[in-house]
């Protein structure tokens, strides 16, 4: 049992664990203290002073997010003095803020706006000079420093959690901006576009780069066939935007909402996740066979479905790109097939098809601009919407999401197995791959309770498991007795740790799954912002519930995938697959020194 401390907040006697801050103690006891820069478990900086409270015996007001409780402390969160001080702090921030809420995408979900409302600010008393105003638009993220409140949450996330270090305070005093070195654009540095900074920004200073306008335009164009697909993790994210229980899958409502938005075909990226397993599983077996039979093969093979991770590794470990699976990410595969396989079925020119991917991700907005993501002269995917953007469109269209009836995705790219659902959570791609690979090789089901590979389930940073193949089918003789060592990580700090091992030839891994965001796509840069730590756990539970609720649990049993192979692709890693479903990578380097210099200026 932890030591308990007795304190009084607003006259209420409270006993809390030693080591907690005042704001934590208050929250646990349902006492609200305003705050702006503080973000539990991520950022504790004490910069905004919005959380000031009065502590008896102390001369000055105290920042409750910084000060730990002490035995006998008597705290007033609501005294006139504390309220006045907080209000003035907020007014000062507002005096250096554009205050154009009416035309701001954050309006309604903005922490500063909420704060001003809570603190009872009704007029702009202070008029101040406005500080530095930089608008930095990249394919994935838009940075508008005029809205920045200098809370530095993004700095903590980018440096301390992702360990990339793109964003840091530059200059000093009134000229301070949060950004890359020497006024460089985020597109000219080693930003992964993971968007973790976007998910913590309390205001509209960091936001996804808009795709809503081009999508509306395509929908309104009578000559376009507009096809939408949604990633696995979207179904456990979007409900929260409409007041539904956090983490609960709303797959059926989502499909209905997309129909009501007048998309022509409602497909599921899950379909391509199943396909990815077929391609990636085969690629792994091919590499393993080569390695075990004295041939040349680069192992460990590392998953490639997270474009934030891909950009990171291209910058940080440009010499190790041969480890990456050549599989495109699932939505790119699906896009490529929509504009070939499906276009042929419909008898439509691929140029008249507009593919929209709804993703929990900002990096995928950049991914679709990569020159290699083009087949037959048309891009695989035309626009990527984040979950937040889709929610905005649903609201704009006046759709009452919470009360929608359920419906299904469309054939032939809407059916999926539970293995596809778990792509949305760390450990999921590996588990899905093992479900299929183990069964292909041995003819038996993966020997784990409910098919969950327990050691790689959960939110820990690096997870490792071993799996031995015994009594294999004759075609896989080379694997008899082979123990595959797999590792799973999410978040770029863990990715860096594993890659340092891989670069040195250490670890002894054969197969590694990496997702760029800590926790995987359930916590992606395009998801509704997480109000507290529990959100991740709830979304993870939602994903596993989807998986377990399906009869179809393994990718290779998906009938529509089987049809795709028999009618069109013929075999995994075959000629057509290579052309449509696989890709190459680009050496970038920490300072983009491997790229051609024409972009650098």
């Amino acid at each position: 049992m932890a030591n308990m401390v007795n304190i009084t907040i607003n006259g209420k006697a409270i006993s809390v664990e030693e080591g907690k801050t005042i704001i934590q103690a208050a929250k646990e006891n349902n006492i609200y203290i305003p705050s702006l820069c503080y973000l539990e478990g991520i950022h504790q900086y004490g910069g905004c002073r919005m959380c000031m409270v009065e502590v008896e015996g102390a001369r000055t007001l105290m920042a409750s997010c910084m000060v730990k409780v002490k035995e006998g402390m008597v705290i007033h969160t609501n005294s006139a003095r504390a309220r006045h001080a907080r209000k003035v702090m907020c007014e000062l921030i507002l005096s250096n803020h554009p205050q154009d809420c009416l035309s701001c995408p954050r309006s309604g979900s903005c922490e500063l706006q909420d704060l001003a409302k809570t603190l009872g600010i009704t007029e702009a008393r202070f008029k101040g000079e406005k500080s530095v105003d930089i608008l930095d638009i990249t394919p994935a993220i838009t940075r508008d420093t005029s809205k920045c409140v200098l809370c530095r949450r993004c700095v903590s996330v980018c440096n301390m959690i992702q360990h990339v270090g793109v964003l840091n305070p530059q200059n000093r005093g009134f000229k301070t901006v949060i950004g890359p070195a020497m006024d460089l654009s985020m597109k000219d540095v080693d930003c992964s576009y993971c968007g973790q900074c976007v998910t913590v920004c309390p205001v509209n200073a960091l936001q996804e780069t808009d795709a809503i306008q081009p999508v509306w335009k395509a929908i309104n164009d009578p000559n376009k066939r507009v096809v939408v697909q949604v990633a696995p993790a979207v179904r456990v994210g979007i409900g929260q935007e409409f007041g539904l229980p956090v983490g609960k899958a709303t797959t059926g409502k989502l499909a209905t909402a997309l129909k009501e938005l007048l998309f022509d075909d409602i497909f599921d990226t899950n379909f391509a996740a199943d396909l990815t397993i077929m391609e990636e599983g085969t690629e792994f077996l091919t590499r393993a066979k080569a390695a075990l039979t004295g041939g040349n093969a680069v192992l460990p093979m590392i998953t490639s479905c997270s474009p934030g991770w891909i950009k990171f590794v291209e910058h940080t470990f440009p010499e190790e790109l041969d480890h990456l699976s050549t599989c495109k990410s699932p939505h790119m595969m699906e896009g490529a097939l929509i504009k070939s396989y499906y276009a042929e079925k419909l008898g439509i020119d691929p140029k008249d098809i507009f593919v929209v991917s709804v993703m929990p991700c900002t990096a995928k907005k950049f991914e679709i601009t990569r020159p290699e993501m083009v087949n037959n002269g048309v891009p695989n995917v035309d626009a990527v919407l984040t979950v937040r953007e889709l929610a905005r469109m649903i609201r704009e269209a006046g759709i009452d999401f919470a009360n929608l009836p359920e419906s299904d995705f469309d054939a032939p790219m809407g059916l999926s197995s539970g293995a596809a659902d778990i792509f949305g959570v760390t450990g999921g791609v590996m588990e899905a791959a093992l479900r299929t690979v183990y069964e292909l090789v041995t003819g038996r089901e993966l020997p784990f309770d409910k098919l969950h590979v327990a050691p790689i389930v959960g939110l820990e940073q690096i997870k490792v498991a071993e799996l031995t193949f015994e009594n294999v089918l004759p075609a896989y003789k080379f694997l008899e007795g082979f123990t595959a060592k797999v590792a799973v990580t999410s978040g770029l700090e863990g990715a860096r740790k594993l890659m340092e091992q891989v670069a040195k030839g250490e670890g002894g891994y054969h197969f590694i799954e990496v997702m760029g965001c800590p926790g995987g796509c359930i916590a992606g840069g395009g998801q509704p912002r997480m109000t507290d730590k529990k959100v991740k756990e709830l979304r993870m539970a939602g994903i596993y519930e989807e998986d377990e609720g399906k009869k179809l649990r393994k990718s290779h049993e998906n009938k529509d995938i089987q049809a795709l192979y028999s009618q069109y692709l013929l075999e995994p890693l075959g000629h057509k697959s290579h052309e449509l479903l696989h890709t190459t990578y680009t050496k970038r380097g920490e300072f983009n020194e491997y790229l051609h210099t024409e972009q650098a200026e």
């Binding site: 840091n168 305070p169 020497m182 540095v189 920490e590 300072f591």
Partner: protein, 170 residues
């Protein structure tokens, strides 16, 4: 063509490259000494600026790599402290007072004449890096306006026609 004229320009280029190499080697040594000492970045930046004269982006990248720190963190520190500079510093900095008194008594004329003589604008430096011009607010010597400062020397009641002579002293 004589041997001499053929070689001369080549040698000059060689020297410049050699000088750059020596500076970079010295900086690499500094980085090597400090890279495992926490909190030593400022020392490294100081030393690098002393060796190189200023801290351009290319040099900040070298330091970032050597110290194993993000570039944005290096540039954050460089831009925080006024004594670090990302542009080359002139040997002599001329500050022209544009405070009210100096302005009224011919500050602008001095500024115009300086720009004419040196061929640069405020904030720039001459090609030989000998002079740069800056504008400053009141220097507190209004009684003897117009005033300019060259490095630490205050020159009062400056006559624009005598500027050339004054500069020749530096």
């Amino acid at each position: 063509m004589s041997e001499e004229t053929k070689k001369a320009p080549v040698r000059e280029v060689y020297d410049e490259a050699e000088e750059e190499r020596q500076k970079m080697a010295a900086i690499a040594e500094v980085i090597d000494t400090y890279k495992d000492q926490p909190g030593s970045l400022i020392k490294v930046l100081h030393a690098a600026q002393n060796i190189y004269g200023y801290l351009p982006l290319s040099l900040q990248k070298v330091i970032a790599e050597g110290m194993n720190m993000p570039l944005s963190m290096i540039s954050g520190v460089v831009s925080f402290y006024a004594f670090f500079s990302t542009t080359p510093k002139a040997d002599n900095t001329i500050k022209v007072c544009m405070g009210t008194a100096c302005y009224v008594r011919g500050g602008q004329k001095i500024m115009d004449r300086l720009q004419e003589i040196l061929g640069i604008k405020p904030g720039e430096l001459t090609e030989d890096r000998k002079f740069s011009i800056e504008v400053t607010r009141c220097l507190g010597a209004c009684g003897l306006a117009p005033v300019i400062m060259i490095n630490d020397d205050v020159h009062q009641q400056v006559n624009p026609d005598k500027l050339e002579k004054l500069l020749a002293k530096y």
